[in-house]
């Protein structure tokens, strides 16, 4: 995706913006675009925001069907959107579930889908399976998933291997969603199409070719699609013995008026990409007016140099280590990876949190207590506490035997800088040691994965390391094993702060151990996976903020493929429990059953996905226990979902999708926190001509909680038109919302190609709110590509 990500963003923005689920629009997350994919393809997420200055952090969480935990990745907001590409092969049929959570400056969180906190119904990306019939169509040029200079694009498809059932002369070919069959030449086994014959301009970015085969009696036999990336004619992507480079520059000036408060956002981004022989250079710089010293950084910069055996990077990086150690975290510093056929070494060091000082409030008495009572210059005061600067060092050597075996050892040391702020309390420190192993047999049909880590934490390093004698004295007073702590100090005291605030004191009880193992088997069209997890309640990693602790249990998932990967029967069972160290009043068990039937016919019939899940949580405290019954847990949640999507011809090409979910939660405790949620979304997109398309959407959402009901209906009408010799694309949309949320949004935007590789865009949104002042967003942006 490199620096053409912004080009892809512009293309999607102008072409698919109207396809957002704007009915789910919140205060800051205006929508998410995540097109359905085929197995083996990357998944592109585009998340659009409003008022990004109010967002301290945004996270995308995703998982495949049946997986216990969501993988989370911190999003980098550039301008008013963020993109994330999930690598090919990570999304598995029948679907990928995801949600987005934005944390605002006020610590309020907003989710997409908006009702996720009550419904726990994530959004889905449908992942269709490949078919043996797909091999009957060969895309000769361009190669699937390849990069093609735009002046070399010529589409040729071979039907040499097509079945005898197929009538080749009835074959249809599409580029993006446009039927170009009439402009193509079909000569026996070969289909040829030149974009010069196509009135729709193909801009640089990702595109799709679809070929439909029909039988002799004109029934759809199979449909197969391929993706490729179009790059500007003079591109550095083809390496040579000369240094070739490309630069992408983009800028934006945007004014948002929300609740009568006007904020200007100005930002400039530069991406540089160069190559020489086998070496690549990537540099990114993003500066924004939202950069404030009292907030975490919004500016971004990075420089990465690498070849196939060495990668070095400085700046804002997202290094990948085993999940328990460091994952989805931005590190501003240095990261390097060395890899040979049998040995690898990864090293990362840098800052994960910038210091933001607090402020003095008032003096405090000697007897005052509270977590915001601190001592500064020998004086006790009340303070608004700041955030310590936090940095970490992580190292992982690993050994490999081809692709069948991998064994790694990880170490992470994270520490708050006590001297980085004046008004702070309880700086922390964290040390982890871990190991991971992977085995792959029979062409990766058998995968065994094992991972474990142990952490040592210190919740307050402000007093420094204690002397041995002081450890013994405090051990007697506070009743912990002083000799054991002395032993810990002798082992790690030279680089880790050991005092009375370390945990765990009893590592033999495994409170800070995390371990997991999984076995995957892929045979006879059956994907079976079983896994076990153990996470002590004291396990912590500064490199992994999103880990669930104090839990153990099993997860079993089975996905059966039938009828040439057209039908997927999926079943998952999970049983977890907490209270591993007996620190809670009662142990809670969490049991989930998840089932799904997905039908991807690849013929003239909709894709259908039906899902049912049951989640029940229960502890041993009963309602009759008058002392503790307010801590009783006994609830069950049932969820039913149905998703249909269909591309068909009704004089012109149409694409319709329907998504329905119903969630019912029953709380059997005295609290009776029952909840019910229903949601229906219907959208239809019509491709009238190669230059003009329109979309209509209808959405209904209803939530019933114990003390309140909430429902709204949203309608979307939009259109997109290409004009002025295909240089200007205009989009317009109106979105009224009725019910408990009353708002009407008007949107008008345009993207104009001034000269080759230079585009400017204008966007305007106006919100009419009931009982509140109206809001508006107006912005101007540009992009420019330079290549040598």
């Amino acid at each position: 995706m490199k620096y053409y990500a912004i080009t892809i963003f512009l293309f999607l923005f102008s072409f698919l913006l109207l396809n957002e689920a704007s009915a789910q629009q919140g205060v800051v997350i205006s929508g998410v675009i995540a097109p359905d994919v085929r197995e083996g393809e990357p998944v592109l997420f585009e998340i659009n925001f409003m008022q990004p200055s109010n967002i301290t952090r945004a996270v995308l969480a995703y998982r495949n069907f049946g997986e216990t935990e969501y993988l989370e990745t911190e999003l980098t907001i550039l301008g008013n959107s963020a993109t994330f590409v999930l690598e090919p092969g990570k999304a598995a049929p029948p679907f990928l579930e995801y949600y987005v959570v934005a944390t605002l400056n006020s610590d309020i969180t907003e989710y997409y889908p908006l009702d996720y906190p009550s419904s726990f119904a994530p959004a889905k990306v449908l992942v269709t399976g490949a078919s043996p019939k797909d091999l009957e169509v060969l895309l000769l040029t361009p190669e699937p998933n390849s990069k093609v200079p735009e002046d070399e694009l010529f589409i040729s498809v071979s039907l040499l291997k097509a079945s005898d059932e197929v009538s080749k002369k009835l074959t249809r070919i599409y580029v993006d969603n446009y039927d170009v069959t009439e402009m193509a030449v079909i000569a026996e086994d070969l289909i040829l199409f030149s974009p010069e014959n196509f009135s729709y301009k193909l801009n640089p970015g990702m595109h799709r070719i679809k070929v439909e085969l029909f039988t002799q009696d004109n029934k759809l036999y199979n449909s197969v699609s391929f993706a490729f990336e179009l790059i500007p004619a003079y591109s550095p992507d083809f390496r040579g013995e000369t240094f070739l480079y490309g630069v992408n520059v983009r800028g934006e000036a945007r004014n948002e008026v929300m609740r009568n408060e006007s904020v200007w956002y100005n930002n400039l981004g530069v991406d540089f990409n160069g190559s020489y022989s086998d070496w690549n250079v990537d540099a990114k710089l993003y500066v924004t007016s939202e950069e404030k010293k009292h907030l975490q950084p919004n500016n971004r910069y990075s420089l990465t140099v690498g070849t196939n055996w060495l990668t070095l990077g400085v700046g804002d990086l997202f290094p990948q280590y085993p999940f328990l150690i460091l994952s989805g975290k931005r590190v501003r510093g240095f990261s390097g990876e060395l890899r040979s056929s049998f040995f690898g070494l990864t090293v990362t060091t840098g800052e994960v949190t910038r210091p933001v000082d607090g402020r003095y409030l008032t003096d405090a008495s000697d007897s005052a207590i509270g977590k915001n009572v601190i001592t500064v210059n020998n004086k006790r005061i009340y303070a608004d506490l700041g955030t310590y600067g936090r940095s970490l060092l992580s190292v992982r050597p690993a050994f490999y035997i081809g692709e069948t075996f991998e064994w790694g050892f990880s170490m992470l040391h994270g520490k708050d800088d006590n001297a980085s702020i004046k008004y702070g309390a309880k700086p922390k420190e964290n040390l982890l040691f871990g190991t991971d192993m992977k085995f792959a047999f029979d062409n990766k049909r058998i995968l065994l994965s094992l991972q474990s880590a142990m952490s040592l934490n210190n919740s307050d390093i402000s007093s420094g390391t204690l002397s041995d004698s002081m450890i013994l004295v405090l051990g007697d007073e506070l009743e912990f094993d002083g000799e054991l702590v002395k032993g810990i100090k002798s082992a790690v005291g030279s680089f880790f702060t050991v005092n009375q605030f370390i945990s765990p004191f009893n590592p033999q009880k495994l409170a800070s151990l995390a371990a997991e193992g999984s076995l995957s088997l892929n045979y006879f069209n059956n994907s079976f996976k079983s896994s076990y997890i153990f996470r002590g309640n004291d396990f912590q990693s500064f490199g992994q903020s999103y880990l669930r602790t104090d839990v153990t249990g099993i997860n079993i998932t089975d996905v059966l493929r039938l009828m040439d990967n057209k039908i997927f029967l999926s079943l998952a069972y999970e049983n977890l429990m907490d209270n591993l160290q007996g620190t809670r009043l009662s142990t809670t068990t969490f049991q989930t059953i998840n089932t799904s039937i997905a039908y991807y016919p690849r013929t003239d019939f909709p894709n259908i996905v039906f899902g049912y899940s049951n989640n029940s949580n229960e502890n041993t405290i009963s309602n009759a226990d008058t002392l503790y019954n307010q801590y009783a847990i006994n609830d069950a949640t049932n969820r039913v979902s149905l998703q249909l999507s269909y591309a068909y011809d009704l004089s012109v090409k149409q694409r319709t999708s329907v998504f329905f979910t119903f969630t019912d939660r029953t709380d059997n405790t005295l609290l009776k926190n029952d909840a019910e949620n229903s949601s229906v979304n219907v959208t239809n997109m019509t491709f009238w001509t190669s230059k003009f398309n329109s979309n209509v959407g209808l959405s209904f959402n209803s939530s019933k909680l114990k003390n309140s009901d909430y429902s709204f209906v949203s309608v979307t009408l939009g259109a997109s038109y290409l004009m002025l010799q295909d240089k200007l694309r205009m989009n317009a949309a109106v979105n009224p919302i009725f019910g408990d949320l009353k708002r009407t949004q008007f949107e008008l935007s345009g993207l104009y190609e001034v000269i080759r590789n230079f585009n400017i865009g204008l966007q305007g949104r106006y919100f009419i709110n009931e009982k509140l002042d109206n809001d508006s967003i107006f912005g101007l942006y540009f992009t420019y590509n330079l290549n040598q």
């Binding site: 060969l138 000769l140 070399e152 010529f154 040729s156 040499l160 000569a187 026996e188 070969l190 003079y234």
Partner: protein
């Protein structure tokens, strides 16, 4: 009687012409397509040379010629790939039988890289002035050297070799090896040397540089192979 015999002969002649002319082997149909051109590439169709273009189809019997610092990439209908390097001349022959295609590429001079899709009942042969090579699902490169001998290197798969001249020796080249076939019919198989490996890698690179000339009638872009 004589007239009947003449008539019968004519019928047989016409029927034979029609039958064999429209057999399952469609010799005049497209068998490959040109997917990339750098600088000077010519194609000979029906004994006429003309400048080749991207997207141009090739039929059995067509000939291709590349100039200095030039390159052409050809894809057969079964997705097999030829990268024809500079100063090369080759002729392709192919016979389609239902879903199979037997191919024979004759390299008269120059060098080409190849990536051949797995062959089941199909036949893929390379021929040069000194050898015939039978390929089954392999990747490598082939060169006709200035002294008349032929060199073929195999990166993956296996290739059967037969010398065309002299003592007509035979041999087998497997992955990681190369063979030299002399005009005396001698076949010598050796391990790939660093120079051969470098040639294999550089052959795969579809490297080109562009020179853009700005004229008052617009830009002229010239692509050429880099050194």
């Amino acid at each position: 009687m004589k007239t009947n015999k003449i008539f019968l002969a004519l019928v047989i002649l016409v029927s034979s012409t029609l039958f064999f002319g429209s057999s399952g082997e469609n010799k005049s149909a497209s068998v490959a397509v040109i997917s990339k051109i750098v600088k000077d590439v010519e194609i000979q169709k029906n004994n006429k040379w003309e400048k080749a273009k991207i997207g141009q189809t090739l039929e059995s019997g067509d000939q291709l010629k590349t100039g200095s610092k030039s390159l052409v990439i050809v894809r057969f209908l079964d997705n097999s790939l030829l990268r024809v390097q500079e100063n090369s001349t080759l002729k392709i022959y192919a016979d389609k039988l239902k879903k199979d295609m037997s191919k024979n590429t004759h390299l008269e001079e120059g060098q080409l890289g190849f990536k051949v899709t797995k062959q089941e009942d199909e036949d893929f042969k390379f021929t040069t002035p000194t050898m015939v090579a039978s390929i089954r699902g392999t990747e490598g490169f082939l060169e006709v050297q200035k002294n008349g001998s032929s060199m073929l290197s195999c990166e993956t798969g296996a290739i059967d070799i037969e010398a065309s001249l002299g003592s007509k020796q035979t041999g087998n080249v497997t992955a990681g090896k190369f063979v030299v076939v002399t005009d005396a019919g001698e076949v010598e198989v050796k391990e790939n040397t660093p120079e051969i490996r470098k040639k294999l890698e550089s052959n795969k690179k579809m490297t080109s540089r562009s020179l853009i000339l700005k004229t008052n009638k617009g830009d002229i872009k010239i692509d050429f192979r880099s050194e």
